[in-house]
């Protein structure tokens, strides 16, 4: 089966209805027909469209893997419809049963299609160009001329003109003919393309098994992060075969973070100055410097470290009435990427209080907004620029039970609103502070805003097969380029003796791909083949 051949490819899509089989051969015939059906071009085509169709909802509906909160909102907002979509895995399209089924079928279809084609191609490579048709003037392209040159010479001259073609010369009853063919590389390119695609799919699947991705926030004040286990991460997404025990060890220390901005606040460049150590460095304690930037991840052994985000962590000190002090610097999350207005909650336990009931009345949370460049209107704080020009916070100081012992996980950026509603956590102050500003509470506790440290959000990614995916992708391009630029052509020359000692030369041509384009090309070729010899 040479599929790209216009003479035969009609057969490709059509499975000839088999003779009704008898007895035990029925099963075999059924199997064979199923296989043929699955590997036919028509099935492949339909599967391709199904794949396209199935991928589309992933672009239109929110996806769990990309944005979980939006998925939950969507389900909430759409009632039974949302629930139904969720049941049918429309929020996990690319991991869904139906998506996987389609591409698995396509994969099988592809294998079933490629194997016979490869065998066929190997055979075609060894075969001689086909016999010269009896009547060349029946071909879509043909031309004739008469000459005084002898048939042998005509054919010899034509042979030299057909450089780059595979040519056989055949003696016939009335003369000599040449049959020539070229463009064999087209099928090779096509096979390369499809095999590379198979390889790419396999590499992708392996990658899904062994990759992982973790995010972590690190203060840019010399704080460190080490890839020693999943607990070090704020969030961690393992591949199917990754349990998080065997991560490549390395450490990163974030020394400083720099951002440059345009006057309108648009970011121009982010740079985190980091040191890292991996492999032998860990034992020798060597740190190597690196400037981590967007688009310039740190690549160590099998892992990549990315600078994905940034923000500010305000520092607060609480001085309790007994004189004890506690200082914390906790990241607050940006609510506006353009101005870096941020929100958060910094939570304190009273020191030295062992009685948990008492502690639950005296815990303190500082919650509110942070602005790197304060813009205060009517005591409402907003930010006018993302750089640290004139930082300020607008905070509520809450006292009471933070719910930290309740066993329920809570966001590091928020306080538990239900405790406020139930009156167990109450607001004891509300104020705007600049660095150095202090609030004194009714019981003598002092809360001071000391300053700000920038933080970076890092992502560590591990994908052992991504290089293979790239290699296969490049092979795909090469195969595609070859198969789409090379054209398969056949040409025949026949020289026969006519009455009166003259020689009749006939040329015929058949395009096996892109027939429409062969006209001009054939005319040129025919003109060359038919022209009288010009050599001395």
């Amino acid at each position: 089966m040479t599929v790209s051949d216009p003479e035969t490819d009609d057969a490709v899509g059509d499975d000839k209805p088999a003779q009704p089989p008898t007895g035990p051969r029925r099963l075999l015939a059924f199997g064979r027909n199923t296989w043929r059906g699955l590997t036919s071009m028509r099935t492949a085509l339909i599967l391709l469209f199904l794949l396209a169709l199935a991928a589309l909802p992933g672009a239109l509906l929110p996806q769990r893997s990309l944005n979980l909160p939006r998925v939950l909102d969507y389900i909430d907002a759409h009632g039974w419809w949302g629930t139904l979509l969720d049941r049918l895995q429309f929020f996990d399209v690319y991991a869904s049963v139906w998506f996987s089924a389609i591409y698995l079928l396509l994969f099988i279809s592809l294998v079933g299609c490629l194997l016979p084609r490869t065998v066929e191609y190997a055979r075609a490579l060894r075969a001689k160009p086909v016999l010269t048709p009896r009547n060349l003037s029946r071909l879509p392209h043909h031309a004739t001329t008469e000459t005084d040159t002898a048939p042998e010479e005509v054919v010899a001259a034509a042979k030299t003109r057909l450089k780059g073609w595979r040519v056989v010369e055949r003696a016939e009853t009335e003369g000599i003919s040449l049959s020539a063919e070229r463009g064999y590389l087209r099928e090779a390119g096509n096979l390369l393309f499809h095999f590379a695609m198979l390889g790419l799919i396999v590499a992708l699947a392996l990658g899904k098994m062994f990759n992982y991705e973790g995010q972590v926030i690190v203060l840019a004040d010399g704080s460190q992060f080490c890839n020693s286990g999943t607990l070090g991460y704020d969030s961690f997404r393992p591949g199917l075969r990754v349990d998080g025990t065997d991560l490549d060890p390395f450490c990163v220390r974030v020394n400083s973070f720099d951002a440059t901005y345009l006057p309108n606040g648009q970011a121009e460049q982010f740079t985190a100055k980091i040191d890292y150590q991996a492999a032998g460095d860990l034992d020798s304690g060597t740190w190597r410097p690196y400037d981590l930037r967007v688009n310039e991840p740190l690549r160590i052994v099998g892992d990549r470290v990315y600078l994905l985000g940034r923000g500010y962590a305000p520092t607060f000190t609480v001085t309790f009435p007994d004189g004890q002090r506690r200082t914390q610097t906790i990241q607050w999350r940006p609510v506006d990427q353009l101005t870096m207005l941020s929100e958060g909650a910094t939570k304190f336990d009273p020191p030295g209080v062992t009685d948990s009931a008492e502690r639950r009345q005296r815990q303190i949370a500082i919650t509110g907004l942070f602005a790197p460049t304060a813009l205060i209107q009517d005591k409402i704080l907003s930010s006018s620029h993302p750089a640290l020009r004139d930082p300020a916070v607008a905070i509520d100081v809450m006292r009471g039970d933070l719910g930290l012992e309740s066993g329920r996980g809570q966001s590091i950026f928020e306080i538990d609103q239900s405790l406020v509603d139930s009156g167990r956590l109450t607001r004891v102050a509300r104020e705007n502070l600049k660095p150095g500003g202090v609030i004194t509470l009714d019981d003598g506790t002092k809360v001071s805003f000391d300053g700000v440290v920038p933080f970076v959000s890092l992502q560590v990614s591990h994908d052992p097969t991504q290089l293979w995916v790239l290699v296969f992708a490049v092979l795909m391009i090469l195969g595609l380029g070859t198969s789409l630029t090379i054209k398969r052509r056949r040409v025949w020359v026949r020289a026969t003796r006519a009455d009166g000692g003259r020689t009749v030369v006939r040329v015929g041509g058949l395009a096996r791909t892109d027939q429409a384009g062969y006209g001009e090309e054939f005319s040129r070729l025919a003109a060359q083949l038919l022209s009288p010899r010009r050599d001395p």
Binding site: D9, F49, L56, V469, A473, A527
Partner: protein, 324 residues
């Protein structure tokens, strides 16, 4: 790097001027169309003879290309309008190119950082493709059909999507911006032509089957085979470029976003469009799918490309949203 406002302004004027010149060109193409109807019959007959090539080939003669037939011995009125239309298209394209270059010089970067710039460049590629194809194929009088989407998209780009010249954000500061986006622009611009031509093919086939349908338009279109061939040739030229663009996008995403493929909406629809184009190529090798079905698939594929540009950029939030 500060932006040179003056140059940027000149660039915007050239953009407007180019769009205006295209509109005039459209009028002339349409006029040519209107005058061509009667010339059609004899022309087709002439073309047939040449393609059939049953007669002995004159050894010395270069077989004339079909396109040359349009130059009838006596230059008809239609022909003169057609030539003016082409001249206007060339002028428009030059102004258009000038506007893109000025944007690039004014901002000191590749001028493909937002939708306005992207659209401007893609439409330039579409027009340039058309100019090249007109030299090869006898399709000049279809110019209006190609310029119509170009002018519409340019109008949208220059109004709703207009973005003042500015530097780009950190994620876009990479040489991959040049490689990935130029491949995307090149292929989208190229795809516009087969997208339009496939629609015309469908009209022509309907008309051929029943001359009462699309009576006036159908009669003036080139024969269905030429349209089909034109669409196919352009598509197979653009498809590897599109593939290359997607792969470069993946390489860039690996550096910028931490993974080479994440089913971001833009990635997803690019994948869908790619698969549909692959379907188009396969359909031409599948019994019963050539011709009409293939043309429908090609139009749908181009529809996906446009959908990816507008809907995904404007309506759906994703990592590509910088382009807003």
């Amino acid at each position: 790097m500060p932006v040179n406002e003056t140059l940027a302004n000149y660039g915007d004027w050239l953009y407007g001027a180019a769009a205006l010149v295209y509109v005039f060109a459209m009028v002339f193409y349409t006029t040519e169309q209107a005058f061509t109807r009667r010339a059609k019959k004899s022309e087709q007959a002439a073309a047939k003879v040449l393609v059939g090539a049953g007669a002995p080939v004159e050894p010395a003669s270069d077989a004339p290309a079909i396109g040359l037939i349009a130059e009838a011995p006596r230059r008809s009125r239609a022909d003169r309008f057609g030539r003016m239309a082409v001249a206007l298209t060339v002028l428009g394209a030059l102004l258009h190119l000038g506007s893109i270059v000025l944007r690039g010089v004014a901002t000191g970067r590749a001028p493909w950082g937002n939708m306005y710039e992207y659209g401007a460049s893609a439409m330039f590629v579409a027009v340039a493709t058309w100019l090249v194809l007109m030299r090869k194929f006898d399709v000049r009088r279809l110019g209006a059909f190609v310029l119509t989407p170009v002018v519409i998209l340019m109008f949208l780009g220059g109004t709703a999507l207009y973005t003042a010249a500015a530097p780009v954000q950190p994620a876009l500061q990479s040489y991959w911006l040049v490689i990935h986006v130029s491949a995307a622009i090149l292929s989208s611009g190229l795809f516009l032509v087969p997208g339009v031509v496939s629609l015309l093919y469908l009209v022509k086939v309907k008309h051929d089957a029943n001359p009462a349908k699309f009576a006036s338009l159908g009669a003036r279109l080139p024969d269905a085979d030429s349209l089909d061939r034109l669409a196919y040739r352009t598509t197979i030229f653009a498809f590897p470029i599109y593939t290359f663009g997607i792969i470069c996008g993946a390489i860039w995403a690996e550096a910028a976003w931490g993974r080479f493929w994440g089913w971001d909406p833009k990635e997803t629809v690019a994948f869908v469009a790619w698969v549909v184009y692959a379907g188009y190529l396969h359909s031409r090798a599948t019994a019963g799918w050539r011709g009409t079905r293939a043309a429908v698939i090609n139009s749908v594929a181009f529809g996906m490309v446009v959908f990816n540009l507008f809907f995904i950029n404007l309506v759906i939030a994703g990592l590509h949203s910088y382009a807003r």
